[in-house]
């Protein structure tokens, strides 16, 4: 499986990668699926999320959506959530993972690559509870990777 295009999230005015798919439960519950335009986007959409503070409470909102209804036809929030321009993700409970810094290890699948840091945002029913930062170490090489690097050195 190919590494997947990340969702986007606006935090502190910055638009950064989000390695979590908060929309997946909504789509599954409503039996909505999109067409994959390429192997780097099996889910068929890219959502842009934003954490908006109101009354001292931060909440997670979907603010933009680019979803492939077909390979050529792209739909947005109004088509998926009729009558809304933004969507409060009240169904989402879990952890948002925002990779930060340099990539320590690329993994050719999903969101499995490792970065220097992960900004982790805990969310309960769409409401932000806490933020933490996790410092990651470079994962040890697997036997297969050691073999491949050996081949590379031989080629050099």
């Amino acid at each position: 499986m190919t590494a997947q295009i990340a969702e986007r999230i606006i935090v502190g005015g910055k638009n950064i990668s989000l390695y979590t798919n908060p929309l997946s439960l909504y789509l599954r519950q409503n039996k909505i699926s999109f067409e994959s335009p390429n192997t780097a986007n099996w889910r068929g959409y890219i959502g842009t999320w934003e954490i908006i503070e109101s009354g001292g409470v931060e909440r997670l909102y979907l603010v933009e959506l680019s979803a492939h209804k077909t390979y050529l036809e792209i739909v947005g929030i109004p088509e998926v959530f009729p009558g809304f321009e933004k969507v409060f993700a009240h169904w989402f409970t879990g952890e948002l993972r925002l990779p930060q810094g340099n990539m320590l290890k690329y993994v050719h699948g999903g969101y499995a690559s490792t970065y220097e840091y992960d900004l982790l945002i805990q969310v309960k029913q769409g409401v932000v509870l806490e933020r933490t930062v996790r410092k990651n170490e470079r994962p040890p090489q697997t036997e297969h990777e050691k073999y491949l690097s050996l081949l590379d050195n031989d080629d050099a």
Partner: protein, 205 residues
């Protein structure tokens, strides 16, 4: 009945031993013949063989001899032990059919141990309204999940159907494959005769 022994042949119930041997081997022989013919019919086309030749994968005489040896040994084994293979095939087919039935069942996150309480649909709706000061959620039970809730309820037509709330704590095993839940999962389960036949998840990651 004891076999009748004679000077030139051993006979059972009036038939020579070799007739019994042929009768035993015949079903296996037909099965092996059928599969050998099928293998021959499905052999690589001339084009495929030319392509393999072109990339240096031409079959050597040794490859042909190896294939001949393998097919001969396999055929002899089958001719001798075909009843054993037939019994194995019978049980394998039954096992595959049972597995297919199991795989065709819907895969729910919820399991009986996560059911918390029996609820009425109306009571579930009353406490399900979502508050958003910015107004980006409909004023309907379960907010944006209202349509999915409607579909879920529409499948609960049997008077014996029950609605249960459930909670799967983070890290608990869930689903057919028993994967650990990556977040708390809450929702409602459609229970019929003690079996979970549907689920509606209200919060998860």
């Amino acid at each position: 009945m004891m076999p009748k022994l004679s000077s030139d042949t051993l006979s059972f119930w009036g038939f020579a031993w070799w007739i019994w041997l042929i009768a035993y081997i015949l079903p296996g022989f037909f099965y092996v013949s059928y599969h050998l013919l099928k293998e021959y019919r499905d052999r690589p086309s001339q084009f495929a063989r030319d392509m393999l030749d072109a990339i240096g994968r031409k079959r050597s005489f040794r490859d042909v001899l190896e294939d001949l040896l393998v097919y001969t040994i396999a055929s002899i084994c089958f001719l001798i032990a075909w009843p054993g293979f037939a019994v194995w095939a019978f049980f394998k087919k039954r096992e595959d059919a049972a597995l297919e039935i199991e795989n065709s069942k819907p895969d729910f996150n919820c399991a009986p141990q996560y059911l918390t309480s029996l609820v009425e649909p109306h009571d579930a709706e009353v406490v399900s309204y979502v508050i958003d000061p910015l107004g980006y959620v409909p004023s309907l039970p379960f907010g944006h999940l209202n349509a999915a809730w409607g579909i879920f309820l529409s499948e609960m037509m049997d008077p014996a159907d029950e609605l249960w709330s459930f909670h799967i704590p983070k890290g608990s095993k869930c689903g057919r494959h028993g994967f650990a839940a990556s977040s708390d999962i809450r929702g409602f389960a459609h229970v019929r005769s003690g079996e979970i036949v549907g689920e509606f998840i209200t919060e998860s990651d």
